[in-house]
């Protein structure tokens, strides 16, 4: 039972990071119907930027949490600027092009970001320093680290802020209106270009935070680290019903839990035949199962039978 609760905690932590990244995918998809394949790389840039800042500050004598706190806004600004530029350069000119064209530029952008990161930061994996206290907090059996607590806390805070932004503010209303019908939104005085840029900046902010937390939690950063979280987060977004914010959160948490519990128990259940290295396929098996039963995702609205 202890393992079970431990895996629940691990799953929630992993899932909340997926959820933050998944929100970026789902917002962009909701508004311009584009699978932004470069979104995972934004997480990577955030993590590597934070690593650079922390490394520069290493001799400053500041406490660990302060260094991380300084690196966080830097990572957010860099990622936001990056995502803003990517949208302007690579996606905006293609808004009326055939659907596959922006998809290919997004894939190209993902490859480009990885390559440039490899040139800037060198391809070898780098250790991310342990900035927060590492002694585990005992919860009467299962344990939780300070970093994990922080991840859960920050995720809840960011999600609340996002929900407030989307549901209560003028910008949020403009985003929802643009997602519904850009032309009519224009008639109501909404500027779609502005809304889309804002969406990319918000998505980048969430991804940057997720990237810093990912680095702090796993302790290594590398140019290829964005790929798998990006893929899983996108899977989470689809699982929840792409375009649906709550769906992205539910999908992310669900995916994190399925992976953690699956990885924890698969070896025992199958008598050691299938080990935890199969953990990576849970996301996709879950995805195929869910979509077979609910083609629009868990919380997605039912779409009429159309191509």
């Amino acid at each position: 039972m202890e393992t079970f609760f431990q895996q629940i905690i691990n799953g929630l932590v992993l899932g909340s990071m997926y959820a933050l990244v998944a929100l970026g995918y789902t917002m962009v998809y909701g508004i311009i119907n584009l699978i932004n394949f470069a979104h995972g790389e934004v997480l990577m840039v955030g993590a590597l930027t934070s690593w650079t800042v922390v490394t520069l500050l290493a001799d400053s004598g500041l406490p660990g949490w302060a260094m991380m706190l300084i690196s966080l806004p830097v990572a957010i600004v860099v990622c936001s600027a990056l995502n803003f530029t990517i949208e302007k350069l690579a996606y905006k000119p293609l808004r009326s092009a055939p659907r596959l064209a922006p998809l290919i530029t997004a894939m190209g952008m993902s490859l480009l970001l990885q390559t440039v990161a490899m040139i800037i930061w060198k391809p070898n994996p780098k250790p991310y320093p342990l900035l927060l206290p590492t002694d585990p907090i005992d919860l009467g059996g299962p344990v939780i680290t300070v970093t994990q607590c922080l991840i859960l806390g920050i995720t809840v805070a960011m999600l609340s802020a996002l929900m407030y932004l989307v549901n209560r503010t003028k910008l949020g209303r403009a985003m929802r209106a643009t997602a519904e019908n850009p032309r009519v939104a224009t008639l109501m005085g909404v500027r779609p270009d502005m809304v889309i840029s804002a969406t990319f900046v918000i998505g980048a902010t969430l991804a940057a935070v997720a990237g810093v937390m990912w680095a702090a939690n796993y302790g290594t950063v590398q140019h290829s680290m964005g790929f798998l979280p990006g893929l899983k987060a996108f899977t989470a977004a689809v699982l929840g019903g792409i375009g649906n914010l709550a769906g992205a959160v539910v999908g992310g948490l669900l995916l994190g839990l399925v992976e953690a519990i699956g990885a924890g128990y698969l070896g025992d259940l199958t008598g050691g035949v299938l080990g935890s290295h199969y953990a990576d396929i849970f996301a996709f098996v879950a995805l195929i199962l869910v979509l077979t039963l609910r083609p629009a995702g868990l919380l997605g609205e039912r779409v009429a039978d159309r191509a």
């Binding site: 119907n33 293609l94 808004r95 596959l100 290919i104 894939m107 490859l111 480009l112 689809v238 080990g275």
Partner: protein, 363 residues
């Protein structure tokens, strides 16, 4: 008409003479040509699924893998070394004739294609993309881990010592001599792949103009209308998946025979993305465009490897051949799409729907 025939003969002669010319500069060049042809084959297969039927498949490389592993298992000592009963049944080793292996590889890949297609028929475009992508990853994880408790795929180490292609006693693995003139194994494979590509182009060409091809395109343009016209969209979609996968399976077995070695590394998601990029870059649904895209993305970066040396020195080793290659592919994907969103060589625009209405501004 006469001009066209003349051009055709010139092109045919050039394609035949190309490897003989290239092999003077080293077999590496012929290898690149042969691999480019293999990618053309793959791209033609994916073009059936994405270009004709409009089903975005990001896990195409899984079928390539199925074909390659099928050939590798049936034509290498791996199975006889690991399973006693197979060794007892085949005392001379498992050298399955290609007349059995290739249909098996094609059949198994087609089956995998239909199996993937069945549960996802209801899905819309982008959902389909992520599911196929997931399917590709699942296959890759299995290739990487199926060595325990039964060693089937030999895990990340891959399978080696795979038999070369052998057609009517003609061994593609050995250098042939015509008088004094040597034709190395790579060049022989080049001709084999060339023949296959020509055969595939003929199939695709006929498909495009057939009832089936037209049904696919109708589904691509408007599925509801296609259904209303009496097209069995379910069967047609499954057929597209199956046919595309068959191409993938055959290319895979060719790849295994050509390399003599397969490992999960050759079948990553990156590879799938590359093949999708080839057909979109060239011109979706247009055979010459698809071929152009495949040759361009497969061969150009390899050629650039040879010019990377000086660049590497200039940048103090930071920009080595592999990075430069990746950089150029990425830049090509972005810039070609920005300049020509319909591809480098798109099909001519006759009989197409009217231009998009303004309301679709954002889509």
């Amino acid at each position: 008409m006469k001009n066209k025939l003349f051009l055709f003969i010139i092109a045919a002669l050039a394609l035949l003479a190309l490897p003989l010319f290239a092999q003077q500069f080293g077999q590496g060049w012929v290898r690149i040509l042969a691999l480019a042809l293999l990618y053309v084959l793959l791209a033609l297969g994916l073009n059936i699924v994405v270009g004709y039927a409009g089903l975005l498949d990001l896990g195409y490389v899984a079928f390539y893998a199925v074909g390659a592993y099928m050939y590798a298992l049936l034509a290498s000592p791996h199975l006889t070394e690991n399973f006693e009963w197979i060794a007892n049944a085949f005392p001379n080793g498992l050298h399955t004739p290609i007349w059995l292996v290739i249909p098996l590889a094609a059949g198994l890949a087609a089956l995998a294609g239909v199996l993937l297609g069945t549960p996802v028929l209801k899905l819309r475009g982008d959902y389909l993309a992520i599911v196929t992508l997931g399917f590709g990853e699942i296959i890759r994880v299995f290739m990487n881990n199926l060595e325990y408790p039964l060693n089937i795929t030999n895990g990340p180490r891959g399978l080696d010592r795979i038999d070369a292609m052998n057609l009517f006693g003609f061994d593609f693995g050995k250098t042939k001599y015509i008088g004094e003139f040597a034709i190395p194994s790579v060049t022989l494979y080049y001709y084999l792949f060339l023949a296959l590509v020509i055969f595939s182009v003929l199939i695709c060409y006929r498909l495009e103009r057939s009832r089936i091809g037209r049904a696919w395109m109708a589904i691509r343009e408007d599925e509801i209308a296609a259904k209303a016209m009496g097209i069995n969209t379910r069967n047609m979609k499954l057929l597209a998946f199956g046919m595309g996968a068959t191409f993938g399976g055959v290319s895979g077995s060719m790849f295994a025979a050509f390399q003599g070695f397969v490992s999960p590394e050759s079948f990553s998601l990156q590879e799938s993305v590359m093949i999708v990029a080839m057909i979109v870059l060239g011109g979706l649904g247009h055979i010459p465009g698809v071929i152009l895209g495949a040759v361009l993305l497969a061969a150009l970066p390899e050629v650039l490897r040879y010019v990377a040396g000086p660049l590497q020195e200039m940048t103090g080793g930071r920009l080595d051949a592999a990075i430069l290659r990746q950089l150029l592919i990425a830049l090509a994907m972005i810039s070609i799409m920005l300049l020509r969103p319909r591809g480098l060589w798109p099909s001519p625009e006759h009989g197409k729907a009217a231009p998009r209405p303004v309301t679709k501004l954002m889509r």
